[in-house]
């Protein structure tokens, strides 16, 4: 199974997620979706909070071709900016591609930050709790536990019912 992460922090965030799904279903099949998590932005730059989630995805595209299409989808959603509606933003990352381990100049699989970002691991483990890191055959569950123990967490909460409720 392929797992990809969606992240968006500008514009109508739920609309961005659904637009991404419409476009993704043109290049494959979405098998499962995780819950959506509200997440503090990563990297210390001042910007709005993110919606993050993970999809289980099936496609016949190779990792490189998939990446190319994901970049196009990101660009397509980012482009949809009318004056009234403000900027949009969508990040799409390949986290896991079956049990492939790949290190090319353009693409690293599994995602290089897979085990250091709880906003990847938490939703990923929600839909695939027993997932193994193909690089060293460790359980990804352990990586998330480690982040939690070290306090390296960015997730504020799982978003419930409506995006603005607390």
């Amino acid at each position: 199974m392929i797992f990809i992460a969606l992240g968006t922090n500008l514009g109508a965030k739920s609309d961005n997620l659904i637009r991404a799904c419409f476009l993704l279903e043109k290049i494959g099949i979405i098998k499962q979706r995780s819950s959506v998590f509200l997440t503090r932005p990563w990297g210390g730059i001042e910007q709005p909070d993110y919606f993050n989630c993970v999809l289980a995805f099936e496609t016949l595209l190779s990792p490189e071709d998939l990446l190319t299409h994901l970049k196009e989808i990101e660009a397509a959603i980012g482009r949809e900016t009318g004056e009234r509606w403000g900027p949009r933003k969508m990040d799409i990352d390949i986290l896991i591609y079956n049990d492939k381990v790949l290190n090319s100049p353009n693409l690293t699989i599994p995602h290089p930050f897979l085990t250091s970002r709880d906003f990847y691991l938490k939703p990923l483990l929600e839909i695939a709790p027993d997932l193994i890191d193909p690089r060293d055959n460790t359980r990804l569950e352990e990586a998330l536990q480690k982040l939690n123990e070290e306090g390296k967490t960015t997730i504020l909460k799982k978003v419930e019912i409506a995006p603005w409720t607390s």
């Binding site: 109508a12 965030k13 739920s14 609309d15 997620l17 659904i18 799904c21 419409f22 476009l23 993704l24 279903e25 043109k26 979405i30 098998k31 499962q32 979706r33 819950s35 959506v36 196009e72 989808i73 660009a75 397509a76 949809e80 009318g82 009234r84 509606w85 978003v159 019912i161 409506a162 995006p163 603005w164 409720t165």
Partner: protein, 214 residues
């Protein structure tokens, strides 16, 4: 209840739910359940003064929706098909926007109790569209009370729907991108939709009828 073919069409006000529900009911020979919408005596006041009239408007809708869907149990469950232009949960989406915390607690208590007594749709079709597209459709159909709807309200509602259906797992769901299509005008688009829902669907499918370039 499994044998009852019960399709529900959902989407933000103005997106084209009722149009599609009517077409589907005619095509499939189904009983049509339309939301009794214009009969809410609080609605015009609500659009003018939301804070004051929110709870009465919500409870009125909740009970009206409940009674209508409750009547589905009287349909011949094994031989009939039903198409509805709403799902019961929609009421809660509006409640979260419109009510304050105390009102919401009361409302949720009632809603929970009622929901458990209703049949579940065997397929939900969520008609999705960008907020700007929805605004244009609303202004085009020109219902009197809808003139009071603000862009911000539709924007918020639209996000609530998107969010709700992005997380919807209660049964098969077809999300249709309607930015480029109007089922009342294009019979081909409608035929394509019928073909899609004729196939068994599990989980969620995101469907864009027109090829959108990206």
């Amino acid at each position: 209840m499994d044998q009852l073919n019960y399709i529900a069409v959902e989407g933000v006000i103005g997106v084209g739910k009722t149009t599609l529900a009517r077409l589907l009911a005619a095509e499939l020979g189904s009983k049509l359940v339309e939301e009794k919408f214009e009969e809410n005596p609080f609605l015009v006041d609500f659009y003018k003064d939301p804070t004051h009239y929110a709870l009465s408007t919500q409870i009125f809708f909740l009970m009206s929706r409940y009674r209508q869907l409750q009547s589905l149990w009287n349909v011949d469950l094994f031989n009939s098909k039903v198409v509805a232009d709403y799902i019961f949960e929609k009421d809660k989406l509006y409640a979260f926007i419109n009510l304050d915390d105390r009102e919401l607690k009361l409302y949720e208590d009632i809603e929970n109790n009622l929901r458990q007594k209703l049949p579940h749709p065997t397929l939900v079709i969520y008609l999705q569209a960008a907020t700007e597209v929805i605004m244009e459709r609303i202004s085009r159909r020109g219902r009197e009370y809808e003139h009071y709807i603000s862009v911000d309200y539709i924007e918020q509602l639209s996000e609530a729907y998107n969010y709700f259906f992005f997380n919807y797992t209660r049964g098969p769901l077809l999300v249709v991108n309607t930015n480029e299509i109007d089922y009342s005008k294009s019979h081909d688009d409608f035929k394509n939709l019928i073909a899609i829902i004729s196939e068994p669907l599990t989980g969620v499918q995101y469907y864009t009828p027109k090829p959108e370039l990206f």
